[in-house]
């Protein structure tokens, strides 16, 4: 933690970056995001197991971009989110300094995002174990049981779109749900509209989700919607052999193809 604070301080003092995004102690013993411009205030920075929020969500915000060069405390999910955002031209790689956090919580030295790519390539990627266990249980159910499960869960959604706001990849200026010419998604929060919205969100994150789980944590009704995108992340890996957030090249599962992609259900 001292290393992290020291490094952040150096970066701000040397004007290498103008802003540091990290975690600090919040209220009720929780960690929250902090935005630091004053090198003297880097002592606020913390990193521990409470720091779960995917800070990359801030990188694409107008108010943040305006600082130019930014350092960001980056555990694995943030690193991967940064790579996705760079590959999708949302942030410039020269503007980001990743204050990498290793699996043991130590500070990693990333002189450039290319080094982040190399680091990510060496780490086994996948869903958090607790989530994957739930996914395995769901996948073991019958189709009918899963339908009942999701119907029950999605019925409660009232379309507050907190999931969308929490996700670093949901950065569109106009989300398709706001499209009314044509009206792609039934507007009210009824079962059909909810299903359509979550299908849309899931498909749009297929091949782009880094399994941070922030959408699920953001949901005020605790609907486990993160399972939808996490399942798709695994599917994309099994079907196409690609994982989101491993490269800065513009290649996502659904914007690329291989002529010999397997096809087991096409007549």
């Amino acid at each position: 933690m001292d290393n992290l604070r020291q490094k952040a301080k150096e970066l701000l003092e040397s004007k290498t970056v103008n802003l540091v995004i990290g975690y600090e102690n919040g209220t009720n013993g929780k960690a929250r995001a902090v935005f630091i411009t004053d090198p003297e205030k880097t002592g606020k920075l913390i990193y521990d197991e409470r720091c779960k929020q995917n800070l990359a969500v801030y990188l694409n915000k107008h108010e943040v971009k305006h600082y130019g060069k930014i350092a960001i405390v980056a555990p694995l999910m943030v690193m991967r989110s940064i790579l996705v955002l760079v590959s999708e031209c949302q942030v410039k790689k020269e503007n980001i300094v990743a204050l990498g956090i290793g699996e043991d919580g130590s500070l990693l030295d990333f002189p450039s995002l290319e080094v982040v790519e190399k680091y990510v390539a060496k780490i086994p990627l996948g869903n958090p174990q607790s989530d994957q266990e739930i996914l395995d249980k769901l996948n073991a159910m019958t189709m009918e049981q899963r339908r009942a499960f999701w119907q029950n869960e999605l019925e409660r959604c009232f379309k507050c779109y907190a999931c969308r706001a929490a996700c670093p990849m949901c950065y569109c200026l106009r989300c398709t749900v706001e499209c009314n010419q044509p009206q792609w998604i039934s507007a009210p929060a009824h079962p059909l509209g909810n299903l359509e919205w979550h299908m849309l969100r899931t498909m749009h994150l297929t091949g782009r989700c880094v399994s941070c789980g922030d959408c699920g944590r953001a949901c005020p009704l605790n609907i486990p919607i993160h399972l939808l995108t996490m399942q798709q992340a695994e599917e994309a890996f099994h079907m196409f052999g690609v994982r989101a957030g491993t490269s800065m090249k513009a290649e996502s599962a659904l914007s690329t193809y291989k002529p010999d992609d397997k096809e087991n259900f096409i007549l």
Binding site: R146, S186, A253, Y257, D261, F265
Partner: protein, 150 residues
């Protein structure tokens, strides 16, 4: 009891399957009347939301068909479409929505007979599954809720 006549919508590409279905016609091969064809330039153009819209509006089944791999008029539209379908299929399966409601196929402009087979098989398959009540119930409850709120 009168047998259930499912409603199917077919999303097809202009260059292969639409032309293949034309050939079914010119060859006078008969098939079930349950399918309505919608022409797209390419399978790559077919938005997955259109499939869900078809179900929401009363389709019991959807056929999606285009050029065989490597035969796409636009080189790679069908390859992109294939990844999209595979992902969509995986998602539906996970959400417990029966992916057998959607039939994906490759039908070339020369496969008039195959098109008739695809249609007939699909109609049979959907007939066995019965009306897509799970989905239509969602629509129904939505309408009721809207009426209630409105």
């Amino acid at each position: 009891m009168e047998q259930f006549e499912p409603k199917l919508v077919a999303f097809v590409c202009n260059w292969c399957t639409y032309a293949g279905a034309d050939l079914t016609g010119t060859s006078r091969i008969k098939y079930a009347t349950n399918v309505r064809i919608i022409r797209f330039p390419c399978t790559g153009r077919i938005d997955f939301m259109l499939i869900s819209k078809a179900f929401a509006n009363g389709a019991d089944g959807v056929i999606v068909s285009g050029c065989h791999p490597n035969d796409c008029h636009y080189t790679s539209g069908n390859f992109h479409a294939r990844r999209r379908w595979m992902s969509f299929n995986a998602m539906l399966t996970f959400m417990g929505i029966d992916p057998d409601r959607i039939i994906f196929s490759w039908v070339s402009a020369a496969e008039g007979a195959k098109w008739a087979d695809v249609v007939n098989q699909s109609v049979e398959q959907i007939r066995k599954l019965g009306p897509f009540t799970e989905y239509q119930k969602l629509v129904q409850s939505g309408i009721e809720e809207e009426n209630f709120n409105g």
